[in-house]
Subunit: 184 residues, 4 copies
């Protein structure tokens, strides 16, 4: 199984890109699957504008991301929380992806995680992020996990510095992959 992981954030030091790294380590160390990380920043996906789509088509970055999603059998998406909800960045990416038919996200198993500097771990973003994926037919795993105080919790060694949390994340990733394998 090939998994694609990406973060709903663009900046270089994104906590959610780092969480993708923690997850990738878990997948590799336990030989659970192949896993590839894709950084949205160099894809240069613009703000959606129907007139741009009509005149110059779907941007190359959107097409590249859709291609990678199509080639993967499962997704692990790490999302920040901006203003108590899904970041505009992530929603805008979903909006563009939905314009390429067949929609790459349709029917794809996906796990949602969040990293946040706050105490609540991005829980409001996780729940709001489910809806557009559900609408597009993505097979979201019911369980999710938000990593709070992520600037302190995620280590440079790509682990969580709380043994219980790390064990729980490992358990969740394993459960999810077992589940996803039933669906592909």
């Amino acid at each position: 199984m090939k998994i694609l992981t990406f973060a709903g954030s663009l900046r270089k030091d994104s906590l959610n890109k780092k969480l993708c790294g923690v997850v990738s380590e878990i997948v590799k160390k336990n030989n659970l699957a192949e896993i590839e990380f894709v950084d949205l920043q160099p894809l240069n996906i613009p703000v959606y504008d129907g007139d741009i789509e009509a005149s110059t088509g779907i941007p190359a970055g959107v097409q590249q991301l859709a291609q990678k999603i199509t080639e993967a059998q499962a997704l692990i998406i790490c999302t920040p929380e901006y203003n108590g909800s899904i970041p505009g960045i992530l929603k805008n990416t979903i909006d563009w992806l939905s314009r390429l038919k067949p929609v790459s996200l349709a029917g794809k198993p996906a796990l949602l995680l969040a990293a946040s500097p706050g105490a609540l771990g991005g829980v409001r973003s996780l729940w709001h992020s489910r809806q557009p994926f559900d609408v597009l037919g993505t097979q979201l795993y019911p369980e999710m996990m938000g990593v709070g105080k992520a600037h302190e919790t995620i280590t440079p060694e790509k682990t969580l510095n709380d043994a219980k949390l790390q064990a729980n994340l490992e358990r969740l990733v394993k459960d999810y992959i077992t589940h996803a394998k039933k669906l592909v």
Copy 2:
């Protein structure tokens, strides 16, 4: 009272920009308040990236929009529905606005409306759009209205071609403005 109205959509023929027009006509015709429409397209607001903010600051378009919001006493926002939720465009605009302190949206009375080509009138977008505004302290009016089949319903004369719907929108706009005047 000065009202600012804008749409969460960029394209020239946006149904939601047209709905802003219908609302503006109602406000003017009934001498309810001053009302100004601002088009987000020429503001060129980029996708949020913390590194851009750190290196070059808040984009000029965001600052202009924040200034207009600050100068208004009330807002009327018309939002499309993309993939069953708030459009990335609108959420991205909110995310940028939240970076300019004091936050222009905080404490501001606002009415949410939606126009959609579908039968449900953007109801899922309306409900998801409330959350980030609530988080920022915007005083959202409880009642909302979604205009379905908006490509047929909105006329070039800036009315809704369904007398009952038009009357209901007029009633809602009047109720909202009466309410907003209590809060300023």
Copy 3:
């Protein structure tokens, strides 16, 4: 495969109980699975009160429902919309079910449908109803369907009197059962 279907409504002439009937016909006519309908009304599930639970335990009706859910391999739940959200009846039933461990709803594939006398077909209830099921680990199917003007649309012959809608419901039920069979 054995499917259990129930409605989040108690009254005898419930539109959602009738929608369970439409779905049961589809399942039977196409030999898709076994299907059993359970009426929540005679189960007499009281409003949740932790003191009742502590003194007299989980009510018999909750235990009977949990037993039926456990014995089924998949669920089809039809929910009304009350005040723009999940009915208290359905949420209260879920709350009681969550007290019996292991939780019968955990890991169970489920399809959510709604019937409503209004034009929007219970869409706000469908989306709010997902969250408690997701929290309990129910494997909700991403696609849902709301039947609007259900008092006119559902016939005494247990069909929808709109051929396109009936065909779409049949397609959805078939797709869901194909999916659920992968998960059991």
Copy 4:
């Protein structure tokens, strides 16, 4: 101004009833308003059933609560979180209240708070609880507050044993009452 406060929980030792007590102390100590607490448990509100309503009418407990809401100028509602959402108890109470016209909750200013034994303070319940109130036209205050680990945080002296949290709750209650006074 007369404020009514109640909790979406029935059991005697409810953390949310205790949070109503903390809030009542703040209101009284600072002479902000009159405040009355109403316990939902003795009101004996049954699970909503349209057939019961048709045969025996709105239960007396619902009528009593509606009367108290009507007589108050503002509400402070403390809600638990059950299964990541609004408790069935609270939603069922709202559903019954919506059957008595004019709806007592319509236009009424209200503040939502939550107490929870968990770390997240009931944040998912707070956000889900807004929707039915919004639908009924309740004027919900945008800011909310969830008290996590409430079994440890709420003291028998009706305070929060975290000075910063207590100060923040006092500030929120004061801000809310100032706001509500503008609306009545």
